[in-house]
């Protein structure tokens, strides 16, 4: 089943999306966004896997050993950092929404206020 790791990534993405669509709480929605985003980590790492490969760090393994693709790992690191900052920014928006409107339910936030 060589497709399974990729499909797992797709599944995580859809689960996160489902959570966002049905969410009744903005903090929960931000958490679901983080879940949906984490699917990209799984997908990237699955793409970069090499059978029998180890971590691409040559400090304690001989040069020339089989290692997994380091490029996607570097991309995942970028992904994690950006994900964390986006979550932080969204949560600060949620705090402001709660303060200004007194609710966290996205369905109760209807009218635009100036």
């Amino acid at each position: 089943m060589t497709l399974l790791p990729f499909l797992a990534a797709g599944w995580i993405f859809l689960v996160g999306l489902y959570g966002m669509v049905t969410s009744r709480n903005l903090v929960h929605a931000v958490g679901c966004l983080a879940v949906a985003q984490s699917s990209t980590y799984v997908l990237l790492l699955a793409v970069g896997y090499r059978r029998g490969g180890t971590a691409p760090v040559f400090a304690d393994i001989p040069v020339g050993s089989t290692v997994v693709d380091p490029v996607v790992q570097a991309l995942v690191l970028t992904d994690v950092v950006v994900g964390a900052t986006v979550t932080a920014l969204l949560l600060s928006l949620v705090i402001q929404i709660r303060k200004r409107t007194g609710t966290l339910d996205p369905e109760a936030l209807t009218g635009l206020k100036g």
Binding site: L3, F6, L7, T22, L77, L89, I95, D105
Partner: protein, 263 residues
Amino acid sequence: MTRNTRTTVFLVAAAVLAAAFTWACTGLPRFGTDTHPYGDRAVRAALAHRTANVVSAINFDQRALDTLGEESILFAAVLGAVVLLRRARDEDRADPEPRRVLPSTRLLGAALLPVTVLVGVYVVAHGQLSPGGGFQGGVVLATGLHLAYVAADYRVLRRVRPLAVFGALDATGAGAFTALGLAGLIAGGSYLENVLPLGTFNQLTSGGTVPLVNAAVGVEVASGVIVLLAQFLDQAVEITSPGHAGPVQNTGGGAPGNPPEAS
């Protein structure tokens, strides 16, 4: 749109997406494939620059310009959170009361705080050799300091974490990264070029500019996360809104109860 319609629309869209995604995955190289042209080249380039941790070599040497962008995102997000969570005109700042802490918690926190900070510094400093680096070590450093909050109280945390200093350090880290790029431009001819002597493979000083960029990132991430967490802690502990007896409590997504007047 009612909740049911929305869920139905989502399920239809999800089914289409799932089918298209599965079909697209069948066109990907096999899982665990031996063909990784970029990976092989990146490993060769990292070893040529005598950097044992290939992921660090990619982040701080080969793709350093991308990391500068990522760094700027982090910096901008911290700035954004500081602006969003600043004290509003109608809010007051209350001094938090010290709470009783179990002696065992206090002892464990006091013993672990220096150890955690040391581990953070170690992870940052060995970014070019072992798994880790500026980003990971920076987060360890920042969260390690918050043991002071867990083990003692907010006022102790405020003393070990002078916010003005860390705000300045955050900017210094981001600026140092940019300056290292300019140094590469002046000495080597291209921005962020690895111009320093490469050193001996698998030594602390190997990798040319990698350890320096790594340290700049470590300083920036650590102080950025500290400033970020401070904003959230301020909201939870210090800032009181009108219409609430204490700090804003998250009551979950229930019915809107007692909404304070929107400005």
